[in-house]
Assembly symmetry: C2
Homo-oligomer: 334 residues x 2
């Protein structure tokens, strides 16, 4: 029996499953609240309004420059709570493992999951593993739920966005999308570019007490342009982005030019888009720039009364409409 | 474009994904707390200790007599909270969809998910969808997290089980395992047998105030024998099951005899195994038998001081050891 790879019997509820959970999941994720023998864990009473979220992670390849499926899954859920104004507290982890996955790979990914959780100050308190047959999975899929406590002073609500508000981003966009694409090696390109996968908690904590802050979102699947469309649709206003001020790494620009991708639609995994009234924009910008995660932060646009469009103002004074995403340029990006 | 099947673009964050979420997920699951445009939802303050759990669901086929992946996913998570002594309140849903899945099938499964949630009194408050390429999924996988509030009076703890305690089960075992296996049609058998997939909340609510109740578990993957092994391992005692008193449907016995399965290792999805001190066994039995879900409840064994074995007492006074599960007899059973 090949004991370096996952077998169907690792999912059967019996001895091999118990050993897999002990040797990998419990070993890395262990904390006083996690009880891998229990159906459900009891948590301390929360000191505020609970906030709940979930996300599934299918990134391919499972490991890429700047991160892997494990760290990405933590950052994705932590960031969903962070941009909603919460402090994340607890995570649950559902792992769907494909028969034949190397046990060493699983071990590395769950170790990264555990490390990212520790860095973000969250405890993994419940989990489940299932094994599916070869050809019925993509190596490993992780689904994570996050429970946090509301902390934002301001009421963050996309509907409160009004004409005249400003749009900010905390750093360069598209790094994750391009880093993962290059890691697939299907283009014969390689580079120094790393995914931006990271917790955005320092960024959201730095600004969430500002009364002029109206909305935050992490631009993952569909990128900055898709967040702009969500804002336009929910507010009924138009979003005008200034191409000159949207931070982009030169490597991202080159790859996009070469392969015909639009960087505004590429996923980020460690950035925040914020909308605030015009008088608060400078405050947010200076608080973000004071952080290592926000040095390249920028005011990138404004809300215009109009017909719910997303407009890119180009360098030469031109304006082009950014349509909503139709095709999927990069499946399994997150 | 074939609009009857899921495309990769249904997972891209753009228009098709938005429409899929509106047309299927939000339409069936809608409730005042669910906000499909939000990163995380804010919940009312909980009136007690939070209990959290998660589970992944990969059953194949996606629809089977007595249930489907959608209803099974709700019952699985509701039951994990129920047997831990909680009232379930909120669910999150992460859906991993394989390219090519029929939209009608997805619609039926999510409709069943929603119906089962309503029946169990839980609200689905957060969700996420991802689409993976053909050959990288099994049609549809669902991962669900459940948040509940602790309600049990007794401290339910597997470690508190002692020699002399009695073991009960709320109904016949193995129905789910056999119903799903027959639905695969690979054996050319068919029958009237239906999965027992159901919420066990009425059963757990009926007995969770009894001080003599020590432990409850729903015998899913690995079945009754695997729960018995968990009890034996955690308590250090032996579990003796009486073959004459374990309820089994005749159809389950026939199929097991024919195909060489052991019904004690087959999954249930609507049963509760309970352990209680001997003086409380009768109370639990009469409360369960008064419910439609518990009419066939039975005291099926007892805890013996001993070496942590699971023993099946056969009809003729013999005793055979039930070993821990090694192979996986039925992958993707839940």
């Amino acid at each position: 029996m090949d004991d370096t790879r996952i077998l169907l019997a690792h999912g059967n509820g019996g001895r091999l499953m118990r050993e897999l959970i002990a040797d990998i999941f419990a070993r890395h994720l262990g904390n006083p609240l996690l009880d891998t023998d229990a159906d459900a864990v009891t948590l301390p009473i929360l000191d505020g309004e609970p906030m709940l979220t979930t996300d599934g992670f299918t990134v391919q390849p499972l490991e890429f420059p700047g991160g892997n499926l494990g760290s990405l899954a933590v950052h994705g859920v932590v960031n969903d709570l962070a941009v909603a104004g919460a402090d994340p507290r607890y995570l649950t982890l559902s792992a769907l493992i494909e028969e034949g996955l190397e046990v060493d790979v699983l071990d590395r990914l769950i170790a990264s999951f555990a490390e990212a959780a520790r860095e973000s100050g969250v405890a993994v308190v419940a989990g489940d593993t299932k094994v599916v047959r070869r050809g019925e999975g993509g190596g490993l899929y992780l689904s994570v739920a996050g429970l946090g406590v509301k902390r934002a002073q301001a009421k963050l609500a996309i509907e409160s966005i009004a004409a005249g508000d400003v749009v900010l981003v905390s750093g360069p966009v598209g790094d994750h999308g391009i880093a993962v694409m290059l890691a697939r090696e299907q283009f014969g390109l390689s580079g120094e570019l790393r995914s931006d996968s990271a917790s955005v908690l320092p960024l959201t904590r730095a600004v969430r007490d500002l009364p002029g802050l109206k909305f935050m979102r992490d631009p993952t699947r569909g990128g900055l342009a898709t967040v702009a469309h969500e804002i336009a649709r929910a507010s009924g206003h138009s979003v005008a982005l200034d191409q000159n001020t949207v931070p982009l790494r030169p490597e991202v620009v080159s790859v996009c030019d070469m392969l015909g991708y639009d960087p505004y639609f590429l996923a980020c995994e460690g950035r925040v888009v914020a909308v605030a009234d015009a008088s608060s924009g400078g405050d947010i910008l200076s608080r973000w720039r004071a952080l290592p995660e926000g040095r390249a932060a920028s005011i990138i646009g404004r809300i215009e009364s109009g017909s719910g469009r997303v407009i890119l103002e180009t360098g030469l004074g031109g304006r082009r409409v950014l349509d909503e995403l139709e095709d999927d340029p990069l499946p399994r990006i997150c």
